[in-house]
Amino acid sequence: MSTIELVGISKSFGKTTVVKNLDLSIADGEFIVLVGPSGCGKTTTLRMIAGLERPTEGDIRIDGNSVVSLPPQKRDLAMVFQNYALYSHYSVAKNLAYPLKARGVSKAEITEKVQATAEMLGLGEVLKRRPGQLSGGQRQRVALGRAIIREPLAFLMDEPLSNLDAALRVDMRKEIIQLADRLSSTVVYVTHDQVEAMTMADRVVVMFDGLIQQLGTPAEVFERPANRFVAGFIGTPRMNFLDVTVGQGKELSVEGSSVGIGGSLPMSVGDPVVLGIRPEAVTVDPDGPLEVSVTLTENLGSETLAYGLIGTQEFLLLAPTRAAPQAGQTVRVACDSADMHVFEPGALGERLTVDA
């Protein structure tokens, strides 16, 4: 398994620049996830690693060797496509054998490897069938098998789970991680689903508008988002953002109330900033600094989502159903200052450090 390095990569299609000056170092055996909304450049980046797109600028190195001028056939990487891209006219066995045929592997060895891979993925029974006769999950596994059988330098996966239904997705997530562990593989995984990113990644690369917004472990991205975009993208339900102003000392002025943030900001009183609080981070507290007038509640079972307003700004809170407020009520909520995030104004507003 190998290291992959992207150095100063950018890609433009005509006048549109889809990936802008990206640097990324992927360690041997790392499971790294590129995550972001549609159009952020994550798939393009993956395809450039694969060799299916040529970067407009920059270098791609595998194990230190530049591969940027090599066609995909020569890079020894395996890719799992979103729609699996199985060869519908071949049986499962032949699909699995196909990558080995290019390498001049002996027939006996091919049969052996196909058998082994099929068993590893639970495909032993369907070897003679064609993709059209398989279920979505089985097709997914054939696609995986085709990638594994070659023992490539790294695995590239382009939203492989997005065509599966929810329940299947959860199962396959586990299977992929187990597989990656077992093979100690380097995996570059692309998804728009931040839950997948958080549960599967060693490190997460949050992308937007062709740039890396943050690179870090799932915990880092969640607990210390680098900017407002990352904070809003990672975590469900989405973080609340309140337009507030800097108050005296270690406080912010939020719709007339003062909220202590446990430290001071390198800004002047009255400067606008954005306060970010996750819905699950607030508790209903009659002594709390924030007043929420609840307009709508959604009972999710053990928890309830309450939609409300602080002043004129929308605010969402998540509480155990037993302690949840009702629609029409006005409650006070409190939040630990460690769970408060302050950002500069703007969609990509940088996180501001609070000096304790």
Binding site: V18, T43, T44, P71
Partner: protein
């Protein structure tokens, strides 16, 4: 935002592409362009028979042929032939495709067998229709007579006035099923939801046809118009085998005229000149049709549903 991300192969792509089209290019150059060039150069001579003597005479043959009244009427006739066939075949094909545009058991059988007239060699068609249209023993006259519609038999192919329209009908009969199958296929790709939405919006069946179906068909109609025109213009065998251009040359279209000039009156260079002019005329027809087809292809059928929806309250 999804880009059409294509595989980036650049120069290998280019080399491969050129390699792959080499056979077809060779085919066209050797089988088409070389003889074509030969013919065009012959048209600048006064060659009468291949292998005979000749001298280069510039545009003299062109002048001669343009002044030839037989050539003129043949050319005019050919234009009529092309237009009449085009319109008739398209109309018939649209009607047929519309009628067939519902799934019923046996649809595939019907679709396959209606093409029969196109599948059989022209000799068969010639025999079939010469017999059907025969004044004394033919089926058409017999049927018309039995129905009491005529008192004496109609002469079709032997009548100088009727022969040409008869041939147009015959040729259209031969080709329209093929067009039908193509149109039907295009029709069946229209997503049902477009019709359903239009119905909800109050659009009548006719309006739905006009705006949705027709919009979907435009691109293919463009291409068919182009190819169909070219095919029709070059029809030789059907006319040759039924009337040989008669009676009194009233069914002689350009292909026959060229053939006769070359093989009957033994004037190859004159025939070549006639061909040259014919070619130019065809190009003049084909190029605007081709442009039209491309424009339609770019437009796409989404307009259909919008127009259908706007049709309510009308």
């Amino acid at each position: 935002m999804k880009f059409r991300l294509k595989t980036d192969y650049e120069s290998t792509d280019r080399r491969l592409g050129l390699l792959l089209v080499t056979p077809v290019v060779l085919l066209i150059v050797v089988i088409l362009l070389v003889p074509l060039f030969d013919a065009i150069s012959t048209s600048f001579t006064n060659l009468r028979v291949p292998g005979g003597e000749y001298e280069t005479v510039g545009l003299e043959q062109y002048g001669t042929i343009l002044g030839d009244p037989d050539f003129q009427s043949s050319l005019g006739r050919t234009v009529v032939w092309v237009l009449a066939n085009g319109v008739l075949q398209l109309v018939l094909a649209l009607i047929a495709a519309t009628a067939l545009n519902s799934s019923f058991r046996g649809l595939n059988m019907v679709r396959a067998w209606i093409i029969l007239p196109w599948v059989v060699p022209v000799a068969v068609i010639a025999i079939l229709w010469r017999w059907m249209l025969d004044a004394t023993s033919g089926g058409i006259n017999w049927a018309l007579d039995s129905l009491g519609l005529i008192s004496e038999p109609i002469v079709f192919l032997g009548d100088p006035d009727k022969a040409f329209p008869t041939l147009i009908a015959m040729n259209s009969w031969r080709f329209f099923p093929f067009l039908t199958v193509l149109l039907l296929a295009a029709m069946q790709t229209v997503p049902r939801s477009q019709f359903e939405a239009a119905s909800m919006d109050g659009a009548s069946a006719w309006r739905q046809f006009r705006t949705i179906t027709f919009a979907h068909l435009r691109p293919i109609l463009g291409i068919l118009g182009l190819v169909g025109t070219l095919w029709a213009a070059n029809i030789f065998d059907l006319i040759w085998l039924t009337t040989k251009g008669g009676p009194s040359g009233r069914t002689e279209t350009m292909p026959l005229f060229i053939y006769e000039t070359a093989f009957a009156t033994f004037n190859f260079s004159l025939a070549a000149a006639a061909s040259g002019i014919f070619l130019i005329v065809l190009m003049l027809i084909a190029i605007p049709l081709g442009m039209n087809a491309r424009a339609e292809l770019a437009r796409g059928p989404v307009d259909g549903i919008i127009r259908a929806a706007r049709g309510k309250g009308n």
